[in-house]
Symmetry: C2
Subunit: 225 residues, 2 copies
């Protein structure tokens, strides 16, 4: 069990990245709720994830109900759905930590950095929600492919950006619970670096024909393991 079991809503949890996080958090002993607009798909994914995690604790609700029931809300939807999803659950977010893993990819050139005006898709959500919600950017660089395979460790560190250090600390703990090293990486504006880096990792995947390049931070001897 984790030091502090939490109720975590994963909006977009039926996708690859969200599903991988949900699976690993459930295995670690957290209470995971998938948020989805499609109950049939959610039921299927939920059953698959419970089986893969060897648990029966993952459940699903619509996005609003999932966010309302959770202490920590995680956003793992495509960039095109980011703002609408946040607006949908906004009433349920006050006082909570919102982990936003959004990467502003612009199909079809997803290996090309194309940051939105202002620089960061996640910083824009913090600006939208204001002080009542502590937005923390994390998990942009972690391969969904690797997350979905619970038999293997994930060879990637997590850059954790947010304006509230205590909220960053909660997210670093949640990363540790799934076996990931994670680092305080500065204010929410710094999310631009993590968001942009994902396109470079995709470019490297293509160029070097690998399924999931990642990053490690070096030079920090006492880094959390």
């Amino acid at each position: 069990m984790p030091a502090q079991p939490r109720t975590i809503a994963v909006l977009g949890g039926t996708g690859a990245e969200g599903g991988g996080l949900a699976l690993r958090w459930a295995r670690a002993g957290h209470r995971v709720i998938l948020g989805s607009r499609n109950p049939e798909k959610a039921a299927k994914v939920c059953a698959d994830l419970n089986a893969a995690a060897g648990v029966d604790s993952i459940r699903f609700l619509d996005n609003r109900a999932a966010a309302a029931a959770a202490e920590v809300v995680v956003l793992t939807v495509p960039h095109a759905a980011q703002r609408a999803t946040v607006e949908e659950v906004r009433d349920a977010l006050a006082g909570k930590v919102l982990i936003d893993a959004t990467v502003p990819l612009v199909p079809p050139k997803v290996s090309r950095v194309q940051l939105p005006a202002g620089g960061s898709a996640v910083a824009a959500i913090q600006a939208l929600l204001g002080e009542p919600v502590r937005v923390v950017s994390a998990f942009q660089n972690v391969s969904a492919h690797a997350l979905r395979d619970p038999a293997h460790d994930v060879d990637c560190d997590v850059l954790v950006c947010g304006d509230d250090p205590a909220a960053r600390e909660i997210v670093i703990g949640l990363a540790h619970d799934v076996g990931l090293r994670a680092f305080h990486a500065g204010p929410i504006a710094n999310s631009a670096a993590a968001e942009a880096l994902t396109s470079i990792l995709i470019a490297i995947n293509i160029r070097y024909k690998v399924p999931g390049a990642g990053i490690r931070i070096t030079g920090v001897p006492a880094a959390p393991a």
Copy 2:
């Protein structure tokens, strides 16, 4: 000796990052010319670098003469001096590879990502110079502190961005010559990620009290060593 000894002009070579690269390229057998606007300072730095590298081949010229004499020109000046330096040497760059290591830090908040309008300081230089010059972005994330200590390997990979794959390949070779792993990281627009990442590394240096955090790319088994 490197596979292909080159004449390399390092503009801003009297600074920490440029000096570190100059020292290591000279040790590897390349012909290095520091470009500087200050002959007295350049003479002093040149002597120090030759002594540290155990060579006497590093010399200095003014920026224009250095760029004119070189096959490859490297830009390691502060962001505030980037465009003026490029304009100063522009006539000497046609047909050459310009390696631009500029990081658009905005003092005093250098640990906060503050990318310029358009996203990348280096992509802006490629746009300025146009097709006659092949601009390649590299070395933004490599600690000057580590580069200046030739007794130790540098625990950091180099992200190499540029629109011309052959030019990127030259830069990857030059990184290898100083013991750095380097990766094709996509078009020049992707430089935004490397530029932004430097502020995150500074934030990590401050938070974790280390002199030079870096990055490693994971998941690429056949990566160049």
